[in-house]
């Protein structure tokens, strides 16, 4: 069996170029092993070969992430690897972020497995753990002797195609078919819980973010109000093709020429409810008619020129958070004081 081709990514310090004063060196590649690659290579000699090492200064990477990523990706690709190893970065924050960034780069562009090592509190770990098998290391290079065999064990499992153990969970939910159907598993789990035996939940419940309500607006007559909705209210024809479920985007639409919705100018993109009533009169989801009347009557100061809409149906929390942040930033930049947020 031929040996697995590995490319190793390290920073300027471990390449022996220099410390903080050399952190601005641009990416370079060297054939074969450099620095900690020696110990890795020795422990892996039966199954793998480190064919090349890619090096980049930590500051250079963080300050030029886009251009550095492109160069690093090309350098990694040039060795035609089957696996990429990053670090170990221990508790070096910028190194961890760079090593994690490279893991992401490799995962998304080359679809190759990545193995790395970091201290549990390295910020790079939380940011990038989903992009590789990161072994938990000590917090300094003094623990290299432990880190290398731990990483080697994981690398060997990945190469052998075995179940991988001994890494920090990526936090990714992966489907598989169980031997028993769900109802049987539930009965079995309940029986263990009744008996006081140890049982393992299949889904550990998350702890949620809670958003505190902001202080009330004191004078609505001076406030600038915007309309935002996750009920899918879009202009007729759904110009941005917002998905009926699991939305990947939100839309921003002008309110300038609409004082009142009817079946000719609006519809819902939402796939989670009977659309008949929303399509007849979209004011039922987004109260444009009322807010325009209030504007005319001087009950609110002004109305933001646009409404924002997405579909909150099967939409992942991560996407929802991303949309919320982007919309909130725009609203803030446009001086909006308050938002009427409708859902369905």
């Amino acid at each position: 069996m031929s040996k697995t081709r590995i490319v190793h990514y390290i920073n300027q310090f471990y390449a022996g170029i220099g410390g903080e004063d050399k952190a601005d060196v641009p990416p370079e590649k060297r054939d074969g092993i450099v620095g900690p690659g020696m110990a890795l290579s020795k422990a892996l000699e039966d199954v793998a070969e480190i064919v090349g090492t890619v090096i980049c200064g930590d500051s250079y990477f963080s300050e030029n992430e886009e251009s550095a990523s492109k160069v690093i990706l090309d350098m990694i690709k040039s060795y035609d690897p089957e696996l990429v190893v990053v670090g170990p970065a221990f508790n070096a924050g910028r190194y961890g972020v760079a090593a994690g960034g490279v893991a992401k780069l490799v995962t998304e562009n080359l679809e190759l497995p990545v193995v790395g090592g970091m201290y549990i509190e390295n910020p790079g770990l939380e940011m990038y753990k989903k992009y590789g098998y990161f072994v938990e290391t000590g917090n300094s290079a003094a623990t290299m002797k432990k880190a290398i065999p731990d990483m080697v064990a994981v690398i060997k499992q990945v190469i052998a195609g075995e179940e991988v153990t001994g890494y920090v969970p990526k936090g990714i939910r992966v489907n598989f078919f169980a031997e028993e159907r769900g109802s049987k598993r539930a009965v079995d789990m309940l029986l263990k819980k009744i008996k006081g035996e140890e049982f393992q939940t299949e889904y550990p419940m998350p702890v949620f973010d809670r958003v505190d309500p902001q202080p009330a607006i004191k004078d609505m007559k001076k406030a600038k109000i915007a309309l935002v909705s996750s009920g899918g209210p879009v202009p007729k024809g759904n110009p941005d093709h917002i998905e009926s479920s699991s939305a990947s985007k939100f839309g921003k639409y002008s309110l300038k020429d609409i004082d009142n919705f009817d079946s000719s100018n609006g519809e819902t993109a939402h796939g989670g409810y009977d659309p008949v009533y929303a399509n007849e009169d979209l004011d039922r989801v987004l109260p444009v008619d009322v807010i325009k009347e209030m504007l005319k009557a001087g009950e609110i100061g002004s109305l933001h020129d646009y409404w924002y809409a997405t579909v909150g149906n099967g939409t992942s929390v991560a996407n929802a958070k991303k949309f919320g942040k982007a919309i909130a930033e725009e609203l803030k930049a446009d001086g909006v004081d308050g938002v009427i947020l409708t859902s369905t």
Partner: protein
């Protein structure tokens, strides 16, 4: 309440001159079935197709799946409230054409209808690639509104299933099962030393095409109530919803209610299964509070030591699941939950819309957002283009060659939260 179930194993389905079961094959008189299924002035046309396991056939969009059953003795008939009056069902004898199913399809009603592939990657995800399917394609009159369209197709499916079920009335069965639940005081006495278990059976009732029925009553309008488990086996609970296909409960799954079946399996051995509390998933906070309070009250009143709580749908009903869990655990009753997950296509997002530390025993039916490519099939029954609009698909899901790339959300029964399927998920 005691029910004998006689299973007649159906290994094949064929068209024939007479609708009958002969040595494991269900023969279907196509015209007669179409006539009976189409007996509604709101229906324009009905076509009937067959789809067997392993065939290169796709059914899209799937509305409901129904199992043919027939009452041989005992009160009432299959699907009370819709087909047969409202006598109490769940006792006597019922015959089942096990291995056969009616699948309804036709022009799309809403967005949340599904796909059944009889072969390939999709077939692995749907339980209904293993059944011999009689596909009833119903086209309603043009000007029907969505909610009426849904009713028309649903009832056509029930008529078709009951018509086929009749063919099993006098057939010798391959398997006998007996299920019995006694009135509560007697039931408790029967196994005094076993832990008492109740099933809190949550049904999708968000309204606007998200309805479920119990004896023909929209469950949105009930307060939680007690159900003898065997009532479900006679079709007391029927689907009437267009929730995402992966985790809506087709009528077939209620007829075979998996938690009930598996609790009966342990009944008298390791547990004393007392019965079910049927509850809803309404949208207003007041409804949610009222229903979860009533559910917890009934579970307590029945004297349960432990309960299984199953959800239907996702997002908004996660709040009902969490309320039921908190309140039932709050009564000192141990719970195990069944849900599924929407963790994003990469699996890295939070899976549920609500959460509780009390939900420490949770079974998952898998992440519905996972993307899969369903290969080209030789035959498509229905309308493949709806892959671009059904929940879990997107503009472009239907590829030029006829294959479909979409989330498994589009596959009927893929992440069934009654625990009917084998899919699950883990954190890596």
């Amino acid at each position: 309440m005691r029910l004998e179930i006689g299973n007649i194993f159906i290994k094949d389905v064929q068209f024939g001159d007479k609708t009958e079961v002969k040595s494991g094959t269900l023969f279907v008189n196509k015209d007669e079935l179409a006539k009976i299924a189409g007996d509604d002035e709101r229906i324009k046309s009905v076509e009937v197709f067959l789809a067997r396991p392993g065939e290169s056939v796709r059914i899209i969009p799937v509305k409901d799946v129904v199992e043919p059953r027939v009452k041989v003795s005992g009160d009432g008939g299959i699907f009370p409230g819709f087909m047969t009056g409202v006598d109490q069902v769940g006792s006597g004898r019922t015959h089942v054409l096990k291995g056969a199913a009616v699948v309804t399809t036709g022009k799309i009603v809403g967005f949340q209808e599904g796909i059944i592939d009889m072969k390939g990657a999709g077939a692995e995800y749907t339980p209904f690639s293993k059944t011999n399917n009689v596909v009833v394609k119903v086209e309603p009159l043009d000007d029907l509104k969505q909610h009426e369209h849904e009713v028309v197709v649903r009832l056509a499916g029930f008529r078709a299933a009951n018509y086929l079920g009749e063919a099993g009335k006098d057939v010798k069965v391959d398997e006998e099962k007996v299920y019995e639940t006694k009135p509560i005081l007697e039931q408790v006495k029967e196994y005094p030393n076993l832990p008492k278990v109740v099933y809190a059976y949550m049904l999708q009732t968000q309204g606007l095409l998200h309805n479920t029925y119990y004896y023909g009553v929209d469950v949105k309008q009930i307060v939680p109530t007690f159900m003898y488990p065997t009532e479900a086996f006679d079709g007391a609970i029927t689907s009437g919803n267009c929730v995402s296909a992966c985790d809506k409960n087709p009528t077939y799954v209620h007829e075979n209610s998996p938690v009930i079946t598996d609790l009966f399996e342990q009944h008298g051995k390791t547990i004393n299964f007392l019965g079910c509390v049927v509850t809803n998933e309404n949208v207003t906070l007041m409804d949610k509070e009222r229903s979860s309070n009533m559910t917890a009250k009934l579970v307590e009143f029945l004297g349960a030591d432990a309960a299984i709580i199953s959800e239907e749908g996702f997002g908004n009903p996660d709040a009902d699941l969490v309320m039921n869990c908190n309140k039932i655990e709050g009564k000192g009753v141990k719970t195990c939950l069944i849900t599924d997950e929407y963790a994003g296509q990469d699996g890295a997002s939070q899976s549920l819309a609500d959460s509780t530390p009390k939900g420490d025993a949770c079974v998952t039916a898998g992440n519905a957002n996972v993307v899969v490519t369903l290969p080209v099939m030789d035959t498509v029954i229905g309308y493949p283009e709806v892959a671009n609009v059904i929940a879990g698909g997107w503009d472009g899901s239907l590829n030029a060659d006829g294959s479909i790339t979409a989330e498994i959300q589009v596959i009927t029964g893929a992440t069934n939260e009654l625990g009917f399927n084998y899919l699950t998920a883990k954190t890596v």
